[in-house]
């Protein structure tokens, strides 16, 4: 069932490209290029016809599993349905064909869209200004922490060299802190899955630059002490950064800005229904409270109102205190178009309903599984929850096995082994776009697998059985890496 590589198809001399003949006088490249800079050996690219090409990538696509294939309860990733109208909108030539340096008067639609999107995100997150430049969540984290750093430097507080990160945090949080030159200090979680206030109290101090927190957190729990947490950090002189990866639980209900956060990033490729593309492109806008606006990357989109001309949108490059650019041009505009369309279609009521149903679906699924699986934090969850399998005490079967077996039942497995504070974690995020029948079916499959684990464990430990390939040898892959194709000569 595996497919040949594109390099293994076709035949020397074949090409799919129908390039035009030159309509200008041609000088031999050898005469135009410096001697030492000419390519002597052509790159070994595939030599295939257009039909070969289409069949190859169509077949490859059939080996993939997407939201359009089936249920994808991948915790922390918000794999909700991606509306097709947004795809259509984002492929309009009026958006795709814009050059970033073309005159602003020719880009008024794009600038208006960015201007409005910034304000919608501000309203949803309770923040004053947003930069749309970051290309993903982790990129937003980097932007946000550099803003916080610039703020402390401006205040002469260069001794603030530590970032507090809960032990339940996503790996990008400590990795980001390191990229900004900060030392990470881990904060313990309490028995209810929230931040341990005593530990935080002990750790926050004159060397604290910030706390990075996800709320709802990676256990799917809303930290009820959130105000105390942000207060403790503020009293110590630090700032509070919200990793907004889990915003799908709270739209229209509660806002990071009202929880005491100074900076937040949102993931348009999670919360705002833009597709994940098999690993990107995403978009990770960063919102700040007013006092941090001077530090945002530039340009920002502004609007000028003129009696005659009406509203004109423009890029404002000024900003002496800005941390500088984090990306060339203005961000992943194509992704912004889809998120903008999503917000316009849903409106305030629709976004709130989306969050409410995301939370309802997660709690419902949790109820359906509590008899069979260990629930390390047994309380109302938000948009996701974490199980620590299995209740039966069957130790031969691990979370990895359960995940692989779920594929045989036609589901994408949940996130596994994250967060790190839960042993054998199985992190389930159903999202609001799934029906009760789908959740019932998934719960039944997980219960069936639990029975299999007891009665015929080899079926589970040997899974998957019905996928294009079986379990792959990851150890050899890492030990003797083969990262590219090379033609045998």
């Amino acid at each position: 069932m595996t497919k040949p590589l594109i390099f293994e198809l076709g035949s020397p001399g074949r090409t799919a490209a129908g390039l035009p003949e030159p309509d200008v006088p041609v000088t031999k490249p050898e005469e135009l290029l410096p001697f030492g800079m000419r390519r002597e050996r052509q790159a070994e690219l595939p030599e295939v016809s257009e039909v070969d090409l289409v069949r190859h990538y169509t077949r490859l696509s059939s080996l993939n599993y997407g939201v359009d294939t089936g249920f994808y309860p991948l915790g922390s990733c918000t794999m909700k349905y991606n509306p097709k109208v947004n795809e259509a909108a984002a492929s309009l030539p009026g958006f795709t064909g814009l050059h970033p340096y073309q005159p602003e008067e020719l880009s008024q639609g794009a600038l208006k869209l960015m201007y409005r999107l910034e304000r919608y995100l501000g309203e949803i997150a309770g923040m004053d200004r947003f930069t749309l430049q970051p290309a993903a969540g982790a990129h937003g984290e980097l932007t946000g922490l550099l803003i916080i750093r610039a703020y402390h430097v401006q205040n002469g507080e260069t001794q603030r060299n530590k970032v507090l990160v809960p032990d339940s945090a996503h790996g990008t949080n400590p990795a980001t802190a390191a990229m900004c030159g900060y030392e990470t200090v881990q904060v313990k979680s309490n028995s209810r899955g929230g931040v341990d206030l005593d530990d935080l109290w002990r750790l926050a101090g004159a060397d604290t630059a910030a706390i990075m927190l996800t709320n709802p957190n990676t256990l799917g729990i809303f930290d009820e002490n959130i105000k105390q947490i942000t207060d403790i950090v503020h009293e110590a002189g630090g700032l509070a950064y919200c990793d907004g990866a889990n915003t799908n639980a709270i739209m229209g209900k509660v806002r990071p800005g009202d929880m005491g956060f100074d900076v937040v990033h949102l993931n348009l490729h999670k919360t705002f229904a833009t597709p994940h593309g098999g690993g990107g492109p995403g978009s990770g806008p960063v919102g700040v409270k007013d006092f941090l606006t001077p530090f945002l990357p530039r340009p920002l989109v502004e609007c000028r109102v003129d009696e005659e001309a009406g509203k004109t949108y423009y890029l404002d490059h000024r900003g002496g205190q800005s941390i500088g650019r984090v990306k060339a041009f203005y961000g992943n505009f194509g992704v912004m178009v889809k998120a903008y369309a999503y917000i316009r279609m849903l409106g305030a009521a629709g976004l709130t309903e989306a969050s409410e149903h995301a939370v309802l679906n997660a709690n419902y699924l949790k109820e359906k599984l509590r008899e069979t699986y260990v629930l390390p934090y047994d309380r109302t969850c938000m948009h996701e929850f974490v199980l620590s399998p299995l209740k039966s005490g069957e130790r031969k079967v691990r979370t990895l096995d359960l995940a692989k077996r779920l594929m045989d039942y036609g589901y994408h497995p949940p996130t596994i082994y994250f967060p790190l504070i839960v042993e054998e974690a199985l992190m389930i995020e159903p999202t609001e776009t799934e029906s009760k029948e789908t959740l019932d079916g998934f719960a039944a499959a997980l219960r069936q697998i639990a029975r299999e684990a007891l009665e015929q464990p080899e079926t589970v430990t040997g899974a998957p059985h019905r996928t294009p390939v079986k379990r792959l040898d990851e150890v050899t892959a890492a030990r003797k890496p083969v990262l590219r194709y090379q033609r045998q000569s």
Binding site: P34, A43, A88, L92, F95, A135, G137, R325, L483
Partner: protein
């Protein structure tokens, strides 16, 4: 119900009952009461799909896209190359675009194999031994490469050519702000990196030398000489390259590059107002385990069948946390897929032919332009698809005149290089016809 929520009233009632809640708000009981929003978000009223489609069409119509309604001679990091129909068609397969990062290889072989093919093609183009699965864009790829070089050499200075894209340099400065690394510019007074200054400044504290080739001015730098100079020091040599140019130009791996980065928007991706684009990142063999980002490797399954997995993950944030080589998680996978398909479409001979077309057309445009009275060449030397000229009138005046005649002219260089004010950077790709070029030349000729 709006928002793609499929629940019927009966479903909702049954589900609330099952979780022991009377109403939705009960589920938000952990949120402190005084924090809960008391009124709806202040957002525009919802639109039906039909209304939304119209709204988006009208918004798009307020743009005048360079690629559609004008003859576009802008480049500078975003290029108007032709995107073949087959690319768009294939990346719109939703098995590709609605998938997440391929964490579960058994049901992600499509994405994984395509990434492996992408990595292979990037290695072929750049002459390097390994490439990663992609970066956000050329600017961040370059910044991460320079930071990586300092990390592996244990040195703390980066020398960057002033002829590297100005926005890339800005990103590099941002990325190094919190690190004990300094960035120093090597001027490019004749439109190319000043070799003597580079040699003089290449002290023992330098961990990386960053050069773009062809550089921001379109000029082909003398790679072999630069490589020789840098390779004599302890610094790593990072070359930022345009993949299209590599159809004709010597791969940086053959002139001493340790790291090659760049942006592959030109391959199969629309300009999209500057994003999403796709960065690439390639290294020589010895730095494979120092690279940032996702990497796909080949392996076999339990039955001996070939398959692909995310590998060398011990470098990455989800395993290594604060010790990771980078914080990058999501990248630009779908844009990398478009590049892979476009490169397969062109193939070995097609890429060369495409590069030849760009070279010939840019050359033709340049010759016709500098022949005009009042248009001066600015730099000497070979260029690829971009070049700098200086008209008698200011670039702003020239561009507004051209615009009236359906032409988007070159980039006003004064914006980034005050010392070059009056200069304009033009780009000519295969999408500009001779007629369009002649038209540009004609208009420039009367615009005095």
């Amino acid at each position: 119900m709006a928002g793609f929520v499929p629940h019927t009233d009966a479903d909702r009632a049954a589900m609330l009952k099952a979780v022991g809640a009377d109403r939705m708000d009960d589920l938000f009981r952990d949120v402190p009461g005084d924090m809960l929003l008391q009124q709806p978000l202040d957002l525009p009223a919802p639109l039906s799909e039909m209304e939304l489609a119209t709204h988006m069409r009208l918004l798009a119509a307020q743009n005048k896209p360079a690629a559609e309604e004008y003859s576009c001679f802008l480049g500078a990091g975003t290029y108007d190359h032709y995107v073949p129909s087959v690319v768009q068609h294939l990346v719109q397969r939703s098995e590709f675009y609605t998938a997440y990062t391929p964490y579960q290889p058994e049901i992600s072989q499509g994405t994984l194999q395509a990434v492996f093919e992408f990595q292979s093609m990037i290695c072929e183009l750049t002459g390097m031994e390994a490439a990663n699965a992609s970066m956000y864009d050329g600017a961040t790829a370059t910044a991460e490469g320079a930071v990586m070089a300092c990390r592996v050499t244990g040195k703390n200075k980066i020398l960057v050519s002033a002829a590297l894209h100005p926005e890339y340099r800005q990103v590099l400065n941002t990325y190094t702000a919190g690190l004990s690394v300094t960035v120093e510019e090597i001027p490019a007074p004749q439109g190319r990196t000043a070799l003597e200054t580079l040699e003089r400044n290449l002290g023992p504290d330098v961990g990386c030398v960053v050069v773009q080739n062809p550089n921001f001015f379109g000029i082909i730098e003398d790679g072999p000489i630069l490589g020789e100079v840098v390779n004599q020091s302890k610094a790593l040599f990072l070359v930022c390259a345009d993949p299209v140019s590599l159809g004709l130009l010597k791969p940086p791996g053959e002139y001493g590059a340790d790291i090659v980065t760049g942006d592959a928007q030109a391959m199969g991706n629309s300009m999209f107002y500057g994003g999403p684009h796709v960065g690439f990142f390639a290294v020589t063999g010895r730095y494979v385990r120092k690279m940032p980002g996702r990497v796909v490797g080949r392996t076999t399954d339990g039955e001996g069948k070939r398959g692909f997995v995310l590998t060398l993950q011990a470098r990455e944030q989800h395993i290594r946390r604060e010790k990771a080589t980078s914080n990058i998680c999501s990248n630009q996978a779908l844009c990398a897929l478009a590049a892979t398909i476009h490169l397969s479409y062109l193939g070995k001979n097609g890429l060369k032919k495409l590069a030849e077309l760009c070279l010939a057309k840019a050359r033709y445009a340049y010759q016709q332009l500098v022949r005009l009275d009042g248009v001066e060449p600015v730099f000497e030397g070979s260029f690829f698809k971009e070049f700098v000229i200086k008209p008698r009138l200011s670039p702003a005046k020239v561009n507004s005149y051209l615009l009236e005649h359906g032409i988007i002219g070159g980039l006003d260089l004064g914006r980034f290089y005050p010392e070059l004010s009056g200069g304009m950077l033009f780009c000519v790709t295969e999408t500009r016809s001779r007629q369009e070029i002649d038209c540009l030349v004609g208009r420039m000729g009367v615009c005095k």
